[in-house]
């Protein structure tokens, strides 16, 4: 075990080869878009982290292969060491000045600059249609560089993030294992009479003890068959679990910045027969969906397959899946986000997803969601977790 005295906190577990792979992919995509550089402005912490491993970094990455200029805040990432960018510039809370200078020093005064995070992308910042850029800094940078052209380039980094490397899949697999460890803890804690807030606290404690960064545990609990229960992302204190309560959850663990999510419904009582049929249908669509997740299949084809699967089996099924990675990954496919704009996006080898399709009875009175992290291989989707399919029953 590492002794504290030898080890400053490190920003991530990735190799320099992984850094160069990411930079190369982004540069190539930027060149395809005739961009002279990529700018990750203040506010876009996710893409900054992808390119630098710093938690909140501004980045100017020249397309021609020149070294990136990276800006961090001396108050963020305090004391962290980072082999990827050993000597970042410090913003010292003057980000407009630092980012303008970085673009000027990279020779971008009259360049075509691709701004990452200006708008929601096709496969990244999927839940942020208005983007993630801080207004005051960006406005000032563009004002000070009147001869440069700034265009949205969210997809340039987004599609680089979309396909994972072996190192990234290792981190995601580790994170999925941690999430499953936390699910084990939830199953231990979930009993009639237990306080839901205490359960929440113990599960988060387990996630952290196993080495995950924090991400809010999402949990809902209500009588079996009642679906509009409150979703909690903080400990819901004062709620005692009753018999026949259904606990649904999204357990997220983060390793190396990679967000894994595992979903494991728990029922505090026996599983009624009519529910077993829906659980079985969910398993069938889960497995059939994995089969279909092959490189070259379009998102639209998968949506149509999954949404039509249940009707031939006396029930209903709906797609529910979204990309996995550094956060806010897409595409996002759900009953609310139907994926019309991403139907032609191909599923590729190395893409990672949380795959958790809906199965319902024909009258939609019974609804069941179960799933977790999968990665697409040449032969279809491969699960990154180990637990068996099903609704956990605690009697």
């Amino acid at each position: 075990m590492t002794k504290l005295h030898d080890a400053r906190p490190r920003a991530g577990p990735y190799s320099l080869a992984e850094r160069d792979r990411r930079w190369d992919v982004v540069r190539k995509r930027a060149a395809d878009q005739n961009l002279d550089c990529i700018l990750v402005p203040l506010g876009n912490g996710i893409d900054g982290r992808y390119l630098t491993q710093y938690r909140s970094a501004g980045v100017v990455l020249p397309t021609d292969g020149g070294p990136p200029i990276v800006i961090v805040d001396s108050f963020a990432d305090r004391a962290s060491r980072n082999d990827w960018i050993p000597d970042p510039r410090l913003a010292n809370r003057a980000w407009d000045e630092a980012m303008t200078r970085a673009l000027q020093d990279a020779g971008m005064d009259r360049a075509r600059v691709g701004v990452v995070g200006l708008r929601g992308g096709t496969v990244s910042h999927a839940r942020s249609p208005d983007g993630v850029v801080v207004h005051s800094v960006y406005e000032e940078v563009t004002r000070r560089l009147p001869n440069a052209t700034f265009v949205d380039a969210t997809d340039v980094v987004g599609f680089a993030r979309y396909v994972k490397s072996a190192e990234e899949i290792d981190c995601l697999t580790h994170a999925a294992a941690i999430a499953e460890g936390a699910i084990d803890e939830m199953i231990q804690q979930a009993r009639p009479g237990a306080d839901l807030g205490v359960l929440y606290a113990r599960v988060v404690q387990r996630l952290l003890a196993l080495g995950s960064e924090y991400d809010p545990l999402a949990i809902a609990a209500g009588p079996l068959g009642v679906f509009r229960t409150t979703r909690h992302t903080n400990p819901p204190h004062g709620r005692t679990l009753e018999p026949n309560t259904m606990i649904t959850n999204e357990v997220t663990a983060i390793v190396g910045g990679q967000n894994a999510q595992e979903d494991q419904p728990i029922l505090l009582g026996p599983i009624p027969d009519e529910w077993r049929r829906v659980v079985d249908l969910q398993r069938e669509v889960f497995e059939a969906g994995l089969e279909r997740m092959r490189p070259g299949t379009s998102i639209g084809e998968l949506i149509d397959f999954v949404n039509g699967f249940g009707e031939t089996r006396g029930g209903k099924t709906l797609i529910l899946m979204h990309g996995r990675g550094y956060g806010d990954d897409g595409p996002l496919l759900s009953p609310r986000a139907r994926g019309e704009k991403v139907r032609n996006v191909p599923i590729e080898a190395g893409t990672a997803w949380v795959w958790k399709p809906y199965a319902m009875s024909a009258d939609e009175r019974i609804q069941f969601v179960w799933g977790g992290d999968v990665v697409v291989t040449e032969t279809g989707g491969k699960v990154l977790f180990k637990r068996p399919h099903g609704l956990v029953s605690i009697e």
């Binding site: 075990m1 590492t2 002794k3 504290l4 005295h5 080890a7 400053r8 906190p9 203040l42 506010g43 876009n44 912490g45 996710i46 938690r55 909140s56 805040d73 108050f75 963020a76 305090r78 004391a79 809370r93 003057a94 980000w95 407009d96 995070g117 200006l118 942020s128 249609p129 208005d130 983007g131 993630v132 850029v133 801080v134 207004h135 005051s136 800094v137 960006y138 406005e139 807030g197 205490v198 929440y200 606290a201 113990r202 988060v204 404690q205 996630l207 952290l208 003890a209 196993l210 080495g211 995950s212 960064e213 924090y214 809010p216 903080n234 400990p235 204190h237 004062g238 806010d328 609310r336």
Partner: protein, 402 residues
Amino acid sequence: MNAEVPREFSLAERDRRWDAVRANAAAAGFDGIFVPLCLDSTNLNLSPEQRRGTRSDCRYLTGMENAAVVLPTAGGKPIAVADRGNGNAWVDDVRAANRGSWVPAMVEALRDAGLERGRIGVSGLRNGTVSHVRATSGVVNHSAYADVKRSLPNARFEDGTDCVGFARYRKGPEEIAALRNAARIAAAGLDELIEVARPGVAVAEVYARVVGRMLELGSEYYPLALDIGPLEGEQHRHEDPPFGMTPQPGDLVINEMDAVYLGMIAQEDQPVLLGAIPDAWKPVVELQAELYRTGLELMKPGVSFAAITQGVAERAEQAGMHGWSMLHSRGFGNDGPLINTQDGRPDRTTGVEIEPNTVWMWKPSAVSADGRIKFRWGGCVLVTEQGAEPLVPRTPGLVSIQ
């Protein structure tokens, strides 16, 4: 849970806040206050305090985690915008963005509030005097805000951060009760830390136990900050569980123990030494306790921050050492003013003074004459008409675990 601890903020508290903001807006000549869509904490992650601060104004005005808010100065009902458009007990007019751009709903809200040609105070555009103090670039989402401005060419948009900020600065009784409860939870987190921190116990395990304890007691999550390293060396800061690391005998565990109750953040700090306290440290620790008490005596309504920092420095000089002041307001996140005499940050507190019903994180440092030994301890302090009182009773000092 203690009977005096609120389970939620009342409608009276809502009205108090809205009235205070409206009064500030009227004094500044604004027709309305606009809290636009702000950045999320994952993307604007400059520090734990700034993470909480990014969407603090919408939380303050609506009780919602993420909302844009239009509050007319003249007293009309506020309009909120949120992704799903779900209202709560405080706000019933909530417009949905429905996973799309927030721009159409924000523009409609401003128009419906009669602000199409108004002078609009925008909160969060820049750091304020007493809110968003560390966010020098503000917290506002660029694309959404720029599109709103383009859509309303006859409206005048100006920075109105202080209109909300100074309302947040002065706490209501319910807010003070919430902060007191958060401080109690943080103190319990310190007790857990003292219970479990030992040489050889993985730091990640300690981190998880402490966070778990605070969550059990009703806190929302807030990153525990642990600075760990040899007493005479450098302590490194961790804001996530540092996996695979164990403290050694003689290590100093410095911490910022934050607990969040009803959105309000309290902090209690208690350094812990995994070993005996060296003699050279004892006078510094004792002086720090005196500096802490000196500050408490000085913190009265109407007193300037300079008077406090000077008083602390002079007391330290009398003891032949140095004294630094660290003082910042407490509330919904990234509260100020931020007074730190250690690093010479610019003083943005001109015209601001200590007021009754303000709550502070007070953690002065004592520094040995040669600068080699530095010691800081502190916690939350409430200022009333009568003076300052800690929100939870604790005794200054360095905890030694042997």
